[in-house]
Symmetry: C2
Subunit: 267 residues, 2 copies
C-alpha cells in the first residue's frame, strides 16, 4: 500500500490502538479494513492490546518506588515520576505514540466506557513527563488541555455500541455518548494535548447483518480517506486561551449558569 514519497514531504504517521478480545469479531473486521485504508495515506503502527497480552494494571513497577515505601499515592498524574524506571512494554507504546501524527483508539463500549485493557493503557503509558507534567517556562502554568506534551497530534475514537442512537443519543436513557466518553476525549486525549476528532460511532453493533457490516466498513474507509484534512466540528476550549482564567473554572461571563460538560467546547 505504501506510496512513494519525496524526502521533503514525508508521509504522515498513525498509531492505531485496538482493544477487542476476539480475533473473529466485527471490531477486528473494522480494524483490518481500517488499517489497510489508512495505510494508503499514512505509515501505520498498531497496538493490538489483546493480541499483545498487554497488562493494564498499574503497579509498583510503574510507580518506580520500592515496595513498601510509605507514600500518599493518590493522583497518578502526580505520582508517576519523570525519573522513574519505565517498563519496556510502556516504552515501546510511548515510542509508537510519540511518532504518530494521528492516533486511532478503537474499542467496544463496555459499561459505557473503554474496556479495562484500554483504560490500563492510559494508566500505564501516559506517564508524567511524557504525556503531561510540562510547564510553560514563562508563566509556570502546567501545559495541559490542548497544550500538553503530545500537542500537534489528532485522534480518531472509533466506538462500537450495542445500543441504538436513541439509547446513547442526546436525551437517551444511557446518556449522550459525547458526554459518556468525555473522560477519554477531554480528560485523557485533550489533557495530553491530542485533539480528538468527532467520534466515529457504530450503533446496534451486535445485530449487524453481513450487508450492514460491509456498509460500516465502507463508511469507516471513506472517512479515513479524508482524515488528513479533518478537524473537530466542536473543539474543546484551550486552557491557555483564558476561558478559565485564574480559577480553573469556566469564567462566569461564558455560558453563565450552565454546568454540563458541553460548556468545555468552543460553542
Amino acid at each position: 500500500m505504501r506510496e512513494s514519497t519525496s524526502v521533503s514531504d514525508p508521509r504522515p504517521t498513525a498509531h492505531w490502538i485496538v482493544a477487542h478480545p476476539q480475533p473473529s469479531s466485527f471490531n477486528t473486521r473494522l480494524f483490518h479494513d481500517g488499517v489497510e485504508a489508512l495505510s494508503r495515506t499514512h505509515d501505520v503502527e498498531i497496538t493490538d492490546l489483546h493480541a499483545q497480552g498487554f497488562d493494564p494494571v498499574l503497579a509498583a513497577r510503574d510507580l518506580g518506588l520500592p515496595l513498601g515505601r510509605a507514600g500518599n499515592v493518590v493522583d497518578l498524574m502526580a505520582e508517576t515520576r519523570a525519573e522513574q524506571q519505565v517498563p519496556d512494554d510502556v516504552l515501546e507504546e510511548q515510542r509508537k505514540l510519540a511518532s504518530a501524527d494521528l492516533v486511532v483508539l478503537q474499542f467496544p463500549l463496555w459499561w459505557y466506557g473503554p474496556p479495562a485493557i484500554l483504560k490500563g493503557w492510559f494508566d500505564r503509558v501516559l506517564t508524567n513527563g511524557f504525556a503531561y507534567g510540562t510547564v510553560d517556562p514563562d508563566t509556570g502554568i502546567p501545559l495541559r488541555y490542548g497544550d500538553g506534551p503530545l500537542a500537534g497530534r489528532r485522534a480518531l475514537v472509533i466506538v462500537t455500541a450495542g445500543e441504538d442512537d436513541r439509547s446513547v443519543g442526546s436525551r437517551g436513557v444511557s446518556g449522550d455518548l459525547d458526554s459518556l466518553l468525555f473522560p477519554v476525549t477531554h480528560g485523557t486525549l485533550w489533557y495530553t494535548g491530542i485533539e480528538p476528532l468527532d467520534l466515529h460511532v457504530v450503533h446496534d453493533a451486535d445485530g449487524l447483518a453481513a450487508a450492514d457490516i460491509d456498509r460500516e466498513s465502507d463508511r469507516l474507509v471513506q472517512r479515513l480517506a479524508a482524515i488528513g484534512s479533518e478537524s473537530p466540528s466542536r473543539p474543546f476550549r484551550r486552557l491557555r486561551d483564558g476561558d478559565y482564567r485564574g480559577t480553573r473554572a469556566l469564567r462566569t461571563d461564558l455560558l453563565p449558569g450552565r454546568t454540563d460538560l458541553d460548556i468545555h467546547r468552543v460553542s
Copy 2:
C-alpha cells in the same frame, strides 16, 4: 466490633471493593479506617483488587466461547451469556456482591475514571443473567436502570482526586465529577439496579498533611456511622416509571431542550 443481634433482625451486609496499588497509601488508610467503622453496623466482606491480583482483562475464558469461533462480539452486555462457564474468581466476587446490602467502591481518580483493575472488575464480574439481562415477565421489557437484578442494594462511591474542587467542580476545567463518574454511578451501578448514594470525594488528595488525613478519615467514619439511613439527594430516574416511555429517550415534555447528563436525575 461485631455486636449481638437477634435472629429476627440480622445485621446488614456490605461489600467493600478497593483499587489501590500501594499498601502504605492514603487510600489504604481510608480503607482500613472505613472498614473498621462500617463493621460496627454491617457484616463487611472485602475485595482488595491489587492484593488479590485480580485480572481485569475480559478474555475468551469469560466469554465462554471456543477460541476462534466466528462471532460478532461487540456488546459485552449481549455477549457474556447466562450459560457460560463463569471463572471461579468471578463467581467469588459475585457471591460477595449478591450478599451485600451496601456496596462500597473506593478508588483514586486516574484519567478521570476508575483504575483499569476496577473497570475490569465491572467488565468481568457483572455478567449477563447476574447483573443484567432479566426481563419484566408482564411487558417483556428488560429490567435495567433501577430495576436490574441487583436492585435493593445501595452503593457508596469513595473517590480521591489530586485536583481541587474548582478543577473538578461544576464548571471546572476538568469537568464536573458527577458527570465524569456518570458511567460508573448510572451506567454501571444504576444499570444493574444498585442505587448510588452521593459521591464521597476527597479533593487535593496528594497534598494532605497528617492532620488533613486524620480529618478525612474522621469525615468518612462519621458518614459511615449513619450510612444505613442515607439516601441520594438527587436520585436517578427509573426506566419503568415512564420518563423514557416508548423511545428510550427522555420524554420531550421533561426538561425540554436539555441534553446534559443531569436530565437523568429526578430534579
